[in-house]
């Protein structure tokens, strides 16, 4: 430990300047190698005709893959589903999450238990989530049909995942189930950061519970809700594993989404050039959301 005092002063200050970078170097180098380099490679592959079972055939085709994508009917179907999926799943998750958070913010004896259990879907592997919902939706023995038949809401069993009309909606319900605890937890944290004195002051002034919610609670959690929605949009858009296991994109193209389409193109057709092009197009669309998010966090940080 004595060598510190022996170090010349200028060396110490140089060390102080270099140290932060030195400490960052391993993490930065590794992420460059395993994240940024592969990403560039995707962009590079998207400009080539590259089918994996013809490994020597790596020909430059410029923007042909992108042109092909824009003329590809399945691309537009997948884009439509991606938009439907995001515009229904996220509001549903938000609403259910908000209700759950408001309930968890009340006082009742078993609150700690409820708070611990509500988060479970979030920790489950997507494959297991897919498995159990396929079982629930099973057309012959699934509990969904059983339940609805007994309630008299439907006349005959519905093959939820095999029918193109119901497949997307069924998956949306599953994804809502998977994601709403995230909103609940985030919003609950926001609720708890609102000072109790606001409510006390408001109720002395005679504000009704509804007005308190509208004028204190909502403004207090709007920031968290915005952040949660943006984060969730990115995650929901990214994750297609549940769909992949539940339906594989089918029946037909009924549950195709853009990332899933890119993955299937590469995985089953081994068409890495075209798959990469779709992945790049999807990323560009997603960037709009990301820029919004970064603007928000940038504002919060400064």
């Amino acid at each position: 430990m004595t060598h510190v005092s022996e170090t010349p002063k200028h060396r110490a200050s140089l060390g102080r300047q270099v140290l932060p970078y030195a400490m960052l170097t391993p993490a930065v180098l590794v992420t460059l190698a395993i994240v940024f380099f592969p990403m560039l490679q995707t962009a590079w592959m998207s400009l080539h005709e590259y089918v994996l079972f013809r490994p020597n055939d790596f020909t430059w085709v410029g923007l042909d893959n992108f042109k092909a994508a824009l003329n590809d009917e399945v691309f537009w179907i997948s884009l439509k589903h991606t938009i439907i999926w995001m515009c229904t799943t996220i509001p549903a998750q938000l609403l259910l999450g908000l209700v759950t958070a408001l309930l968890l913010n009340q006082e009742f004896p078993w609150r700690p238990v409820a708070r611990a259990l509500i988060i479970i879907p979030w920790a489950l592997p997507s494959v297991v989530i897919a498995l159990m919902w396929v079982w629930i939706y099973d057309s012959n023995y699934g509990i969904a049909n059983e339940f609805l038949l007994r309630m008299g809401l439907i006349q005959q069993a519905i093959p939820w995942l095999a029918d193109p009309d119901t497949a997307l909606a069924s998956i949306i319900l599953t994804l809502t189930w998977q994601g709403f605890p995230f909103f609940a937890v985030m919003i609950l944290a926001g609720l708890q950061s609102i000072p109790q004195s606001y409510y006390e002051a408001a109720s002395i002034d005679g504000a009704s519970a509804w007005r308190q919610f509208w004028h204190i609670t909502l403004p207090g959690i709007s920031g968290v809700m915005m952040t949660a929605v943006l984060l969730r949009m990115i995650w929901v858009a990214n994750s297609f594993d549940v769909i992949f296991v539940m339906t594989g994109g089918g029946p037909g193209y009924a549950t195709h989404t853009l990332p899933l389409y890119a993955f299937i193109k590469a995985r089953t057709n081994l068409d890495f050039g075209y798959g990469s092009a779709i992945a790049v197009l999807f990323t560009l669309l997603l960037m709009v959301v990301v820029v919004f998010y970064l603007k928000r966090t940038g504002k919060a940080a400064s």
Binding site: S5, P20, Y21, M23, L24, P26, A27, V28, T31, I34, V35, M39, Q41, T42, M45, L96, T100, L103, L104, Q106, F108, A116, I120, A123, L124, P125, S126, V127, V128, L131, M132, V134, W135, D138, Y141, I143, E146, W177, V185, A189, G190, Y199, E200, S203, Q212, G223, V224, L231, I234, A237, N238, S239, P259, F263, A266, F272, S276, A279, F282, L286
Partner: protein, 277 residues
């Protein structure tokens, strides 16, 4: 709200019952899966799943004939390896972000935030090509590398948030007493944020354990994680729901238990940044 306490009946109607309904919706599918997994396969389709005549036959079959134990081991190696890589690379980086001001800090932090925003599908194709060239397909290393793409940025962000919670004056005090920076980090900061490090490590473990698409693409015959094994079960034993759901329960159990253990600390770390925003 704190001024008037609502009566118990009103509370039960407006809070307890709705909460219970949401919990039933949340846990119902999981419980249904569990009940199916302990039902006798032969009566499953005639009488439906039930708690009467509960059996563990599905579980014993799972380990005896399907070989689930090996899959569990593969998952364990991959998830454990990712935890080690993710944590060891991010400790010094997080300390640097938390304690120093230097040129390019904002850009570098943004870079780590940005990584998590890119679609997985953008990475999975080139990583497959890369692993093929390097001859790493179907090895544990390939999966550890792939999972690290998520784990490293995530754990840097978590650790920065934990380290920011430890006063700088403690490092400075250690350094006036003759410690170097690295010694201050090792002897003062690390022990203090050990709970945070453990929570981050467990979260990385859970996400790597649950990961499916990389495992499917980069794994194979030798390395088959539990998630891929469960999915393969769906294909092979299509209607044997007792066996399938038993596989689901076993696959989900380690992550669920770990998660319940650390959830409080983890959630405070995750939500801290968001609430400030």
């Amino acid at each position: 709200m704190a001024l008037h306490k609502p009566s118990t009946t009103k509370r039960i109607l407006t809070v307890d019952l709705p909460m219970l309904a949401i919990l039933v919706f949340t846990l119902g599918p999981y419980l249904w899966m569990f009940i199916t997994s302990i039902s006798d396969e032969s009566t499953l389709f005639t009488e439906g799943p039930s708690l009467l005549n509960a059996t563990i036959e599905n579980y014993t079959r799972l380990f005896r004939t399907v070989g689930f134990a090996e899959n569990l081991l593969d998952s364990f190696i991959v998830a454990g390896g990712t935890v080690i890589v993710g944590l060891s690379l991010s400790v010094t980086a997080a300390y640097s972000f938390s304690r120093f001001n230097f040129r390019g800090k904002r850009i570098l932090m943004l870079q780590f935030l940005l990584i998590n925003m890119f679609p997985l599908v953008l990475l999975i194709l080139p990583l497959f090509v890369l692993m093929r060239v390097l001859g790493l397909l179907d090895t544990h290393i390939a999966l550890i590398i792939a999972n690290s793409t998520v784990a490293i940025p995530f754990s840097i962000w978590m650790m920065v948030s934990y380290m920011n919670g430890i006063p700088r004056s403690l490092d400075e005090a250690a350094m006036t007493d003759g410690c170097t920076r690295m010694q201050a980090l090792r002897r003062v900061v690390l022990p203090l944020c050990l709970p945070g490090i453990i929570a981050t490590g467990i979260y990385i473990f859970i996400t790597s354990w649950n990961e499916y698409l990389y495992a499917l693409t980069l794994g194979g015959r030798n390395v088959r994680t539990i998630t891929v094994a469960v999915q393969t079960l769906i294909g092979e034993y299509e209607v044997q729901w007792g066996l399938l759901t038993a596989g689901g329960i076993v696959g989900a159990l380690p992550a669920t238990v770990l998660f319940l253990l650390v959830q409080k600390r983890l959630i405070s770390g995750l939500t801290q940044g968001a609430v400030k925003g």
